[in-house]
Amino acid sequence: MKPIGPKPRPRRFHQASWDEPVIFELSRPGQRGVLLPPVEAEIEREVGHPARELPGTLRRTTPPALPELSQNQVLRHYARLSQETLGVDLNPDIGQGTCTMKYSPKVNEQLARNPRLTELHPLQDEATVQGILEVMHRLEAMLGEISGMDRVTLQPGAGSAAIYANVCMIRACQAARGQGERDEVITTIFSHPSNAAAARVAGYRVITLYPDADGYPDLEALKAAVSPRTAGLLITNPEDTGIFNPRIAEFVRVVHEAGGLCSYDQANANGILGITRAREAGFDLCHFNLHKTFSTPHGCGGPGAGACGVTAELAPFLPVPTVECDDGRYRLDYERPQSIGKVRPFYGVTPNLLRAYAWIMSLGAAGLRRVAEIAVLNNNYLLHQVLQIRGVSAPYAAGKRRIEQVRYSWEQLARDTGVRSEDLEIRVADYGMHYWTSHHPFVVPEPMTLEPTESYSRADLDDYAAVLRQISDEAYSRPEVVTTAPHRSTVHRTRQESFDDPDQWAVTWRAYLRKTGQDRG
């Protein structure tokens, strides 16, 4: 046999395509997926059938039209759908910038599935949950050290919930100080949209700052925005451009001098772990996304986990309960009269707290710093590779290095070829990768946001750049290949018109059947 030839780059890929029906179409009356333990005959004799004795207004007369499938059919259906989903386990997930798509270690998965965690009820006696309380207490302490803050809560369900909790603490703190007239929150356009949106829900008017000519948050604009109505600043650093704001301490000082509080959205913390902290920059509050920086899996959009860090001054306002330790005995403390109360049932997304704890323990201080440094090295290496591709640029801060991600622009490519960033987003799927444009509005024209994290090898980065180079070449030579993508995906281009038309949109199978005039089979 002759040697088999080398692999082409980019690799030949085709996404799994099972042509899977919607689950209702697989139903056959009478089939069962699971059986239930029967109620003992003597119990039934004693109590009869209370469900059947419900008053007519409360008794369900028509059974829910759920599908009827055997167990193997359900398994196979969902296993196929999973194959049609591109998780981090399957691709160097560099393209979903701002999301910090890093490796979620499998050993942590095993630990999080331990029955002594999964089968704990949150209202058990504290004596029976000392282990998980110790994990939470230790994780709080570690995140306190990583941020420099005095106290940490692990309760918020994810990053946006943590932003919201921080805004609520600002509101409660200022109410306690008799500063209820402070009703404005300042954020930047390159901070996550939830900073603006959660502040609005909490009752604030939102002022959004745009960058200066170099792409840095605009200090003069901040000075013009602060006033006696300023409640606080909600800001990301580095911002979603990957640019670190070197005047961050001055931003904080300006807001403090105006009487406001400063909350640090640390969604982009991966490149600065052990390098710089919220405390030294003067922040009053901060938050981490444990599903980003601390490796817990993203779960198709959650559950994530959020952690808020605060200074001692803000600590009285933390959600209840806090986890306290007295002489080696852990307990939950609800006696916090100034607390904002609950932001979520119970104590947080506990399995993710355990995973984050295990991740930090598997790295230690030197390991965390190494995570940051290599995430940043990877990013600057990828930046260098991408900038050699025709049609793409990295606006702002020309010639400067970036932290852990870059917001690029394909403006030149669009001008030259008519191919838009949103076309590239779809075409990248043909190569087995992800790609993301940007949050809205698109301040950077034809945006692309890449964040390679520490989890990918140099070869992975080269592979990703090779895909972009290939698609750029296609745009210049055969643009229709890009604009008619996908070609090797699970499905072909979806007709979008119905999604914004109330007469056509269908959020459930039953609505689809009704709107397309079909009877139930």
Partner: protein, 465 residues
């Protein structure tokens, strides 16, 4: 070379020093320090953070973490009757198998082309919940049932242009706390009392509290104290007569036997999906749902993503995408509806798997069996001298209140004594519901055998003697 451990770390491919040198050379940098040039010296961490020494090998890490977890006693080690918002049910093995698959576990926010399966699985979740709830619109899960209630109430305020809501007195105090904080800026709240003899919401008190300021009447079915609101239809009608919406929180597991809220007049239904195939996770397994009719006025007020089905350019192919995306904070920042972000997608997929496994027959059987066990335990507990089940004549789903005032013992004492016998008793209601005296909220599960129920009854009898 960057600071750190000398050897390669298994989670960091480029921790090999030679690779780093090649990459630095490629970008023309002398060291990683150059990348941090924008960070002022005074903001830099000196040396290393003070963290525990790492456990670099899986063996060390597993031993350490399992050692910590071994200090917990789980609801499998003991016999548990705890509920109150987090429920012990049998989780079908296929649920864990599917949510453990790396493709679903580690995907996030891709497009419908590389993540077609994620979109279909969540569309199916919405559809399965839609059948259970008899509703044409169900959201991609939000954080939890608390958030679902809070958002449903904000939706009702936007829909009616009003700024007051009525909630039941018999509400989870934690949920009340979260909702109060969420509505604080511009919505006022009042609580409708319950009738002491039945545990049901007082319809006369409700009517007296209604006005043209009230956007929504919120109640739960089953309520926090376990009773099924037999007057649900009247409560919804009362809300409507004042121009308010009826918003109903439900345990979806009850809907194989209990009518879904849409069939007795609810405009919005909401709740938590933890009981649908998700472990208790010490309270970390929650996801929220909101459901409505397919009325564009309602649809446009949802903050969450709504996945829709549509044709592709190929005949016979299903495509999926975001319905009415422009309403979200992703599209419009603070001008969007509340906010959307990472919430509970994997739990949504899991709940979908659960409903597909259960089917209509499974949902009927589990509802019937839970109500039988609940009534059996209520009857046995009520027969113990000194114990009283206050709302015994009202139908219950899985939970019920027992008052201990006739025993001279506190709820905490009783729970402690049960714990000594390997039983996790009920949630202690005494502080939050003083009108119920010293009381517990007990909860049954289909994992309880008759012997388990009798064991609790025997233990209670012994403890209060």
């Amino acid at each position: 070379m960057p600071a750190g451990e000398p050897g390669a770390h298994p989670y960091i491919p480029n921790s090999v020093p030679e690779v780093q040198q090649e990459m630095l050379r490629a970008v023309g940098a002398a060291s990683v320090e150059e990348f941090y040039a924008d960070i002022p010296r005074e903001l830099r961490v000196e040396g290393l953070l003070h963290l525990p020494a790492p456990l670099l090998s899986e063996a060390e890490l597993t031993r350490h973490v399992e050692g910590l977890l071994a200090r917990n006693t789980s609801t499998r080690d003991a016999l548990s009757f705890l509920g109150a918002g987090c429920y012990q049910h049998q989780v079908p093995a296929v649920c864990d198998e599917i949510n453990g698959r790396g493709e679903f576990l580690t995907a996030y926010a891709g497009e419908p082309y590389e993540d077609h399966g994620r979109f279909q699985a969540l569309f199916e979740y919405q559809s399965l919940m839609g059948e259970l709830l008899d509703a044409d619109v169900v959201n991609v899960p939000n954080y939890d049932g608390f958030q679902a209630a809070a958002t449903a109430l904000r939706m009702a305020c936007r829909l009616t242009g009003r700024e007051a809501v009525l909630l039941p007195e018999q509400l989870d105090p934690d949920k009340l706390s979260m909702v109060r904080n969420y509505l604080r800026p511009d919505v006022s709240m009042a609580q409708v009392p319950f009738l002491p003899e039945s545990g049901l919401l007082d319809p006369d008190a409700l009517r007296a509290m209604l006005s043209d300021r009230v956007a929504a009447v919120y109640f739960e079915n089953p309520g926090y104290l376990g009773v099924l609101e037999t007057g649900a239809e009247g409560l919804a009608a009362a809300a409507h007569s004042a121009g308010a919406l009826a918003v109903v929180g439900v345990n979806p597991l009850s809907l194989g036997v209990v009518r879904p809220p849409a069939q007795y007049g609810a405009d919005l239904a909401c709740g938590d999906i933890q009981s649908l195939g998700i472990h208790q996770h010490y309270g970390g397994g929650h996801g929220g749902f909101i459901a409505s009719a397919d009325d564009p006025r309602f649809v446009m007020e949802f903050p969450s993503r709504l996945f829709g089905i549509a044709p592709t350019i190929v005949e016979g192919e299903y495509g999926f995408g975001d319905v009415a995306y422009e309403r979200t904070s992703f599209a419009r920042r603070e001008e969007g509806k509340e906010w959307v972000g990472t919430a509970a997608g994997l739990w949504g997929i899991t709940a979908g798997v659960y409903l597909a496994l259960m089917g209509p027959q499974g949902m009927k059987e589990i509802g019937e069996g839970l109500m039988q066990r609940c009534r059996y335990l209520m009857g046995r507990v009520a027969a113990i001298p000194g114990l009283r089940v206050p709302f015994a004549a009202t139908p219950h789903f899985t939970e019920f209140v027992v008052t201990l005032d006739g025993t001279g013992r506190t709820a905490a004492q009783v729970n402690r004594a049960l714990l000594e016998r390997g039983i996790f008793g009920g949630k202690d209601l005494s502080a939050d519901f003083p009108s119920l005296g010293q009381s517990l909220l007990l909860c049954v599960s289909e994992v309880h055998t008759g012997e388990d129920l009798d064991r609790l009854v025997d233990a209670l009898r012994e403890v209060v003697r």
